[in-house]
Symmetry: C2
Subunit: 347 residues, 2 copies
Amino acid sequence: MAKKQNVTFSDIAKYTNFSKTTISRYFNHPDSLTLENQQIISDALEKLGYQENKVARILANGKTEFVGIIIPNLYFHYYSEVLNQILNSYEEFGYKFLVFIGNENEETERQYIRELMAYKIEGLIILSHTIPSLELAQLNIPIVTIEREDRYVCSVNTDNYMGGMQAASLLAKHHCDVLIHINTPTAQVVPAYGRIQGFLDICRERNIPHEVFLQDLGNHYEETRQKLQEILGIIEEKYSGKRKGIFVSNDTHANILLNLLFGRYGKLPSDYYLMGFDNSPISREAILPISTIGQQIDKLSHEAVKLLVDLMNEQKKRKPAPLKEPVHKIITPVLIRRATTEKDLTD
Amino acid sequence: MAKKQNVTFSDIAKYTNFSKTTISRYFNHPDSLTLENQQIISDALEKLGYQENKVARILANGKTEFVGIIIPNLYFHYYSEVLNQILNSYEEFGYKFLVFIGNENEETERQYIRELMAYKIEGLIILSHTIPSLELAQLNIPIVTIEREDRYVCSVNTDNYMGGMQAASLLAKHHCDVLIHINTPTAQVVPAYGRIQGFLDICRERNIPHEVFLQDLGNHYEETRQKLQEILGIIEEKYSGKRKGIFVSNDTHANILLNLLFGRYGKLPSDYYLMGFDNSPISREAILPISTIGQQIDKLSHEAVKLLVDLMNEQKKRKPAPLKEPVHKIITPVLIRRATTEKDLTD
DNA sequence: TTGTATGCGTTATCAC
DNA sequence: GTGATAACGCATACAA
């Protein structure tokens, strides 16, 4: 059973009376061998139980086919879905992924990047927010970021601005008297800031009364529920009797707000229109399906990998042309209408 | 700026007038150098901008510190949380993870395994169900599976049987007249089968009327909702007027059932007691927090990695002692009581 | 404490 | 179409 520990090209070469070079060619330029000889080698590989060793190959030709990923966490469905899509791109491009969870710690993430560089990754995909893009750019390897500050590096982002406009527009179309946006404080350099700007621009353009609540809502259900309860209290008091269109920055929080309203009224009151963002499972699984802005995570991820592959291919040329400006790709979000805005869809 | 392409031990050696060996020792046995010399080398590394090359090190010492993971998908929160925990174990053990999404395709997964073997992974963690454990065992590398058929390989599983008992017991404690379990058809060799068995054993032991619905509920919200609607119809008719304790095999499905009940009655009727399984976010975020059996995913994952690390360490000894029998670790689930069974917790 | 020589398993460069 | 030989960058047995 257990043959020699490691069957190598040498063993195959001896067995077949070819040279190591020819064995190598069998794998890399098979058509440069005669069919008979291919068969002979193929049989020998089978017979001796050869297993590839890509580590040796890397050392010899420098191509690891490794891509590093640093992602903040996998709690949020958004992140795990992005990771899912990226990993699945192996089928198309063949790159293997070394994945690290950032956990929001800048120094830790630097350590991860060092480790990744030590394994000679050919490219890097960054979703975490801690390390400034300027520093990333100085790593001098192909990098693509997704939905984060991206001034100095290539990136793929959702058109958050359009998403914000779509949300506000839909609520406006339902003749809401006041439009409300609930979000956490967001830096302007982060793509997600566009949600706020898009919302505001529509409100202003159409002269619709509006209010934006920017507040840290915490990370646990109970905490968020508490904070949203307070905000809801303010809204109820301030806009009593008015038709309220509320755009919440993500579906998880929109769902909590919806639960709060159900808790009070046993239903979504007719003067409330509600929208989330992300099209995450909860928006569909909520007590009332929640209208939302869907990020096209499949496209987002696929474009990110494709862009990175382009950059990596350029890098492999003898004289890589350095990018003058980082490339920024934009993915259009899709408006998804469900029961929280289309009241006739309500059961 | 851009120095020499790749600074190697040779460069450092020349620069410091040491030999490559000494440079190597600086990294692997630093205490065998004088402090001064350590400093000299340290300075030189800094000066020349040295970057480790772990690929070369692998080829020289055979230790990749790679672990392969094959996981069915990341749609289910359970899987993404397991992956999250496994990846985070890097901090403790230092192993790097090469992750593949199985997507339920047996031949594809074989291909992934071949690829992983080519990269000389030291161990393998399997969550996907397609490849029989007998075949996995023949790979002759350390393997740990999580919550899947594990006859011939080491594994870590939740005590599903106890979970099923806990669920049934809690429903029994609330004096339900009939206990109902809704699940998908599950092979007996899969650990999750224990949920059914545990439920049944409690029912029989206590002579409680019960019924088990085993039915494929589909993979999409609408489809599942449809199927559950039918089952609910049967239950309503058959057990009208009785106090019903329903144990659903996962929280996602339990939530859908809860939504259906709310759709009909605007609340969870007093003659319904409901339990899920997994303690996934939806169980907390549902319109009414759902009682559930929590898998201790952190422990489950940590034990899996720890077990694998043990196996890998054994493998590194000059004469590894082969396991006589696969090791199977069991993690106890925790009962989580929420509003769907503790009616006084209802708002 | 430090150095020499050799090996790890492949690919690349040249030659034939 | 095939082969000999030198990389690739580091680790380790052995020697000093």
